[in-house]
Symmetry: C2
Subunit: 361 residues, 2 copies
DNA sequence: AGCGGAGATGTTAACGGTCACATAAGTGAC
DNA sequence: GTCACTTATGTGACCGTTAACATCTCCGCT
């Protein structure tokens, strides 16, 4: 199993890669001509161009991004500040979407992941991005702590955040999925099916999306004249959903099924819903017969949970695209303040996916 | 809901950021002194140093990475070629792990994601990375097509791949989880529980891990004198697991439970196992009573599947760390061919996680 | 023929760091 | 007092690219 580097020990000579001047010499032109070929300048004769191209090919020429960034004073790069990616479906999808959208617009994307939301970690990540001359930053770290900190940080590039609170006063432009609409759909669905005692299993209180969903849950219930129980807070993981489900069922261990103090739970994401369902089943409760459960996100697996999970789908791809559009617009305005402001409304509508985890009562 | 950029319309002036020369002027020293402060050079008087530091602070100085890369001829950056990240748990975790490990070693990581494995997409991604002067590349694209293509591509930096086949002749150094051991654990577990007719739901045939697990499945059954059914191929998704489960149960619709042509299925990942279980349940088959199912990966949700899934845990964090260690070692050798070769064995052992999806027969 | 303008190319100077080398002052040995 | 050596700092070139401006040629127009 040892992997001694095999025969192909090319001993990468680390020879200096060829520059436009090397190409120029070989092609018998000036380096500027090579640069022009590189950038598709119109006034280059075809013969010259093909000579240059041939030389590039022969020398395995590859333009240096560092040099290019240094010389024009722009990097064609946007930064992504990412918290908790990998652990969480939404943010992870969001980052991919932003990356793709950026590339599509001819921009590079550079990601700075942060493990904690400690102020120094955040400003270090921002410094990191800024030192790469990013022209703008997308904040995929939808936590109020991060956003409010950021609002104070001296920043000389535009920033945008997906999944933030559109109404927050942080001053950071925001593109977001309409969380309120998502929560409303869920509750209307539940209420229409006759549920009256609906619990909410929320995400951590300092996450924007968690806050919005919680507020929408409360508002919606109030509007319907139904009681809102104090929210339960999980940490987005299935494990936390399970734990909370356990305490919930233990607390009501004596009750017969008909007497449960709730008939439905709205979980703030699919993973917690999964854990919750697991806990219910362990306690002998059937979903949806005894309790209905709704999730949020529509992760690819939720169609195959047991029971298949009713949930809310968020279109992360278009969220990412909107974010990038807003950011690029802001960048454009910063360069040329005369430019007209693009529409900066950016709300993506979610979609209720009805499956089998909700029953009528 | 519109987000007109609020009052804080600082109209980022896009003023030229300050350079070491600006700092030098303000501090009354030469630019070189500033550079030395920046790099922690020993022979700088404390007074000078603090003057420079103060000037940096006042000017909001931030060193330009592009300039630094250009002037020393190295980027302190490794590239990551990532295929199918976001969609797949293993690769995604792997990328994160490599990033973390790189940062820990003082390197930056730059990710190039590819959507397809078409040759031009791959070489474009490699070009992209190379143009950033990456000093080495980690290939998180564990498909035979990618690796064999890469082996032929002219490359003047070291590369390493996690999740590749250690025995393959591609000539690419590989760090990997011991897939064979993982598959062996699964089958021994199943056989010990009395299973004799064990199916394998494999991943796409051009994925290294899928191949390795399939081969190990076949070898192990042969060794035990048991019949190996022709493998079923999914695409890693729960959807594909479900589809295959449906055809499987439809084909055996007439059979009573005791007459199923198999008693256990070894799925090549947890998602497919989930879809499979779903299909079984839809067909009235209970897991594990009627069929046992084992997965692979131990995604965080699998403890909360129903039934909780027996699976194989892979330690992606240490896989990433080993990869980076190997790569950095290779980079070091490329610079200084005299340097001794570090141990380049890099096999991470997996772990069987026994839960409730396997019954004895 | 002379002139203006466009097309194709060359020349030189940035960009913001680092490197190799030069310089100046201080320190101790003889 | 001078030499060798260290410490603290400055000077100028260089990395690979683009920007600004210069040059030269060819063309049509008057």
């Amino acid at each position: 199993m040892t992997v001694t580097e095999p025969s192909g020990d090319q001993a990468w000579p680390r020879r200096r890669p060829s520059s436009i001047r090397d190409v120029a010499r070989l092609a018998g032109v000036s380096h500027q001509t090579v640069s022009r070929v590189l950038n598709g300048h119109p006034s280059i004769r075809d013969v010259t161009k093909s000579r240059v191209l041939a030389a590039m090919d022969e020398l395995q020429f590859r333009p240096s991004r560092a040099a290019r960034i240094l010389s024009r004073q722009r990097s064609q790069t946007i930064g992504i500040l990412a918290a908790a990616v990998g652990a969480h479906y939404g943010p992870a999808r969001c980052v991919s979407a932003v990356e793709d959208a950026a590339r599509e617009q001819g921009y590079y994307a550079s990601i700075a992941r942060i493990g904690s939301v400690a102020p120094h970690a955040i400003s270090a990540a921002i410094e990191d991005l800024l030192s790469q001359d990013v022209e703008g930053i997308v904040i995929v770290a939808p936590r109020t702590t991060v956003l409010s900190l950021l609002a104070e940080l001296p920043m000389n590039v535009p920033i945008v955040a997906p999944q933030g609170d559109p109404r927050s006063a942080s001053g950071i432009p925001v593109a977001s999925v309409n969380q309120e609409a998502g929560a409303r759909m869920v509750l209307e669905h539940l209420i229409r099916r006759g549920h009256q005692r609906i619990l909410h299993l929320a995400g951590p209180p300092d996450w924007n999306d968690a806050q919005l969903r919680l507020r929408a849950y409360q508002a919606q219930l109030k509007e319907a004249g139904l009681p809102a129980s104090p929210p339960l807070f999980g940490d987005w993981t299935a494990d936390s959903g399970f734990e909370i489900g356990r305490t919930l069922t233990r607390a009501t261990a004596g009750c017969s099924r008909k007497e449960l103090p709730f008939t439905a739970v709205f979980a703030a994401n699919d993973q917690m819903a999964l854990g919750l369902i697991h806990a219910f089943r362990v306690a002998g409760l059937d979903v949806p017969r005894d309790v209905s459960v709704v999730g949020f996100d529509d992760i690819p697996e939720s169609a195959h949970f047991w029971p298949p999970l009713t949930t809310v789908r968020q279109d992360f791809a278009s969220l990412g695209a909107r974010c990038v559009a807003m950011l690029l617009d802001a960048i454009g305005r910063a360069e040329d303040p005369a430019a007209p402001q693009e529409s900066s409304s950016a709300v993506v509508e979610p979609q209720l996916i009805i499956r089998d985890s909700v029953a009528s009562v």
